[in-house]
Amino acid sequence: MNPNSKINGPTEVFSPNDDAELSAFLADSYARGIPLRIAGGGTRLDLGALNAQQTLTSRALTGIVTYEPGALTLIARAGTPLEEVEQTLAEEGQALAFEPMDHRGLLGSSGVPTIGGVVAANVSGPRRLQAGACRDHLLGVRFVDGSGRKIKNGGRVMKNVTGLDLSKLMCGSFGTLGVLTEVALKTLPRAERQLTLVFSKVSLQEACTIFASALATPYEVSGAVYHQESAWLRVEGFAQQAAYRADRLKALFRENQIDVIADEESRALWRDFKNVEVFAQSSEPLWRILIKPSEAPALARSLQLLGGDVFIDWGGGLVWYCGSAQSAEVRSAASAGRAVLIRQGARPASDRFPEDAGAISRLSAALRKTFDPAGILNPKLMGD
């Protein structure tokens, strides 16, 4: 093991330089039963309640391994900064279509978001409703599991049904199943033009009706958000295509007062939406609630009764709730959906993830045990 990979700090930090070092380290931690906090960008993850003596980071596992714009594929080591990935793609007119958010504003953190962290958290922004989530763009992974086994799954090609799909399982497992060392992602062309239709003075109920009609059109609406009596719809494409799509939608909603925002201004707006900037200034607990879009208005009403504010993304399918209500109250209001606590605020620690129903909870626990037999990877982050 490379002695320089150990950095001394408040807790011991270990940054392996390759698969082999990582595997040796995890095999050793497994044998000795040492709980680990798994970090991408490192300093920023507020997993305060996590019972871990050591931190394992991917910060030395950096670099883009392959990027083939003509094949729409990028392979990067897990610790590669997201920004480096996005910049490399932008130089070729491409992007990660799932639009991963940057949590730094919301969490008041200052680390460097990594591509491995994005995959581990299945981070997906407003375009998720049209282009799919991070997991839909993940082609393959390499990781080391909780006993030190080096595993690869999937690959770098767009279509692959060889064996069980562990890439999906790793995506959104928050470091509880293994430590990612490399991820392969599908890239897509960045749209030439982007236009946003702004609806003012609409209720959430009205907005959800607008969203449902807009999303039933062939105009490939790639964003539908709502906040405090305004609703925004985004269309993209080649210049004429985007203009045509915006015109058709304006005609469809001719009863409404609609303003149009274009290109750079529009992109800046969606960057803020993606990062949920509206709640960046607050330090209250922040919840991310996944729900059937048509149930968003009722959910929003009951959350507002608890105090606080909501921001609606994914045409109603994602409700952000920022407010001081008790966890139990939020989970009960959101019982039809799935509520994940993103920011604890000053509240005492509570479970971040909702409890799963019977069989799913049993299967999830058994899967975690299979990947992490000693329970050393982000212990109890997602349940027992």
Partner: protein, 484 residues
């Protein structure tokens, strides 16, 4: 004789067959269980017809609860279960063994809910792929994954194989369009996974189930994402005098920022077969691409123009874009009849290895060289936009040794796909066909963790136990399961 081995049937189970059949009959409505060899014959193989074996019995439930009942009885007798949809698998995924019971979900045919506001459809999984889109037609929506077998294959099989089709380049494969399932575990427990929301927040068990080839659970209901129909779609046909240039054209189209709905490739062997049997007016050349774009009339015209510019730089022997419905049908006709036309030439083995798009020209060249080496002709027709190849190896099943030779050639092609950075199968699945090649793509540890997962869902190794993993690799797992 064929070359893929299956484990020796368990004598204990064969001896208990009458009791197993009686227990199933007792617990299920009349007509649900068939065991007469005349009747079970229809279930002795799937579309990999070189391999056949009648099961002990076939169960044809009509409800999830009946599936659960059948599963519980099979678990009680420790009988292997082969889940089955329409039996169109090309990989032997639905092939029974002599000591197995087939549970076919083909009679679970109800459309349960259509919700255009939240953009999903909920169905029982015995419905065919095409009928799902037909159901949505009037609402202006469709279900995107479109395997060529869509008239016959069921949503159950699509989920188990994570099937794709020509339109996947834009819309993704089954896993990208699946929101939830209801399924039966091996102990008969009925479980809901996912649902009509856009992520579940916990571990992605749905993603794990999709493409698991009937190894983990029997899927009886599905919630599927539905997509608004495009205003219109139009294909163009581009002919080239070399395979290499056609491959280059594919890469340049994608590089340019266009994502057509489909890019299909056909080589000269395929073109000759089509010419002989389908009476199209395709150009006589080394390779033809069919590229389809969609949108409004203006959007379509614009995209066709961009593609024409890209193609022109590569001096195509022909560029033809459709101007109306009839011309569109004419362009697609040959491609759609390609498999049928190839069938008229004789028996064929259809592979579906996938390679990085940039490796297409090299892979095609090597497949050609191997064709000479094995003395067997090969035709290439495939989804070029995503590198999903479909080499069809032509052989004569009646000539002694030719099937073996074709299988050996096929195995070489699949090894080649892995060597250039691709994979063994892009859409048909591993089944028995590619089972023994898994070690080429995956290390012992890569496979061990997959089998550990099977242990979690199916500790007794009852579901499709002799598939996906090489027999010697899965032996310790199967032995341990049968002892416990």
């Amino acid at each position: 004789m064929s070359t893929i081995a299956m484990p020796k049937p368990d004598a204990r189970i064969l001896a208990e067959a009458p009791q197993i059949i009686a227990a199933l009959r007792d617990a299920l409505p009349a007509g649900t269980v068939i065991s007469d060899p005349e009747e079970t014959r229809a279930y002795e193989c799937d579309a990999l017809t070189a391999y056949r074996c009648p099961p002990i019995a076939v169960v044809l439930p009509r409800t999830t609860e009946e599936v659960a009942t059948a599963m519980r009885i099979c678990q009680r007798f420790s009988v292997p279960v082969v889940p089955r949809g329409a039996g169109t698998s090309l990989a032997g995924g639905a092939l029974p063994t002599a000591d197995s019971v087939v549970i076919a979900t083909i009679r679970l045919r109800e459309i349960l809910e259509i919700d255009t506001t939240n953009r999903f459809i909920r169905v029982q999984t015995g419905v065919t792929n095409l009928s799902v889109s037909a159901e949505l037609e009037a609402e202006g929506f469709f279900y995107a994954p479109d395997p060529s077998s869509q008239l016959a294959c069921t949503i159950a099989g699509n989920i188990a194989m994570n099937s794709g089709g020509a339109h996947c380049l834009k819309y993704g494969v089954t896993t990208n369009n699946l929101m939830g399932v209801r399924c039966v575990l091996t102990d008969g427990e009925i479980v809901e996974v996912g649902g009509p929301f856009m992520d579940s927040g916990g571990l992605d068990i749905l993603g794990l189930l999709c493409g698991s080839e009937g190894q983990l659970a029997i899927v009886t209901e599905a919630t599927l994402r539905i997509v608004p129909k495009p205003e219109d779609a139009r294909p163009m046909l581009i002919g080239f005098d070399s395979a290499e240039t056609a491959g280059e054209c594919v890469a340049r189209i994608i590089r340019s920022g266009l994502i057509p709905v489909a890019i299909e490739y056909m080589d000269d062997v395929c073109l000759r077969a089509i010419e002989a049997f389908a009476k199209t007016d395709y150009p006589k050349c080394a390779a033809v691409l069919i590229v389809e774009v969609e949108g409004s009339q203006g959007e379509i015209a614009h995209q066709i123009e961009r593609i024409r510019e890209i193609a022109d730089e590569l001096s195509p022997v022909e560029f033809r874009s459709s101007r109306n419905k009839d011309e569109s049908l004419a362009i697609w006709k040959g491609r759609k009849s390609a498999f049928g036309a190839m069938g008229r030439l004789g028996d064929y083995l259809c592979l579906d290895g996938t390679v990085p798009v940039s490796k297409l020209p090299y892979t095609l060249k090597r497949i050609g060289e191997l064709s000479k080496h094995y003395g067997l002709e090969v035709a290439n027709v495939f989804h070029a936009g995503d590198g999903n190849m479909h080499p069809l190896i032509l052989f004569n099943a009646n000539a002694p040794g030719e099937l073996e030779r074709a299988e050996a050639y096929g195995a070489d092609i699949l090894r080649l796909c892995v060597d250039v950075g691709g994979c063994l199968t892009g859409e048909h699945g591993v089944g028995i066909e590619k089972r023994d090649l898994m070690s080429k793509q995956y290390s012992a540890e890569d496979m061990a963790i997959q089998m550990d997962i099977k242990d979690v869902f199916d500790p007794d190794w009852l579901l499709n136990p002799a598939k996906v993993f090489p027999l010697d690799v899965s032996q310790p797992y199967r032995d341990r399961a049968s002892r416990s």
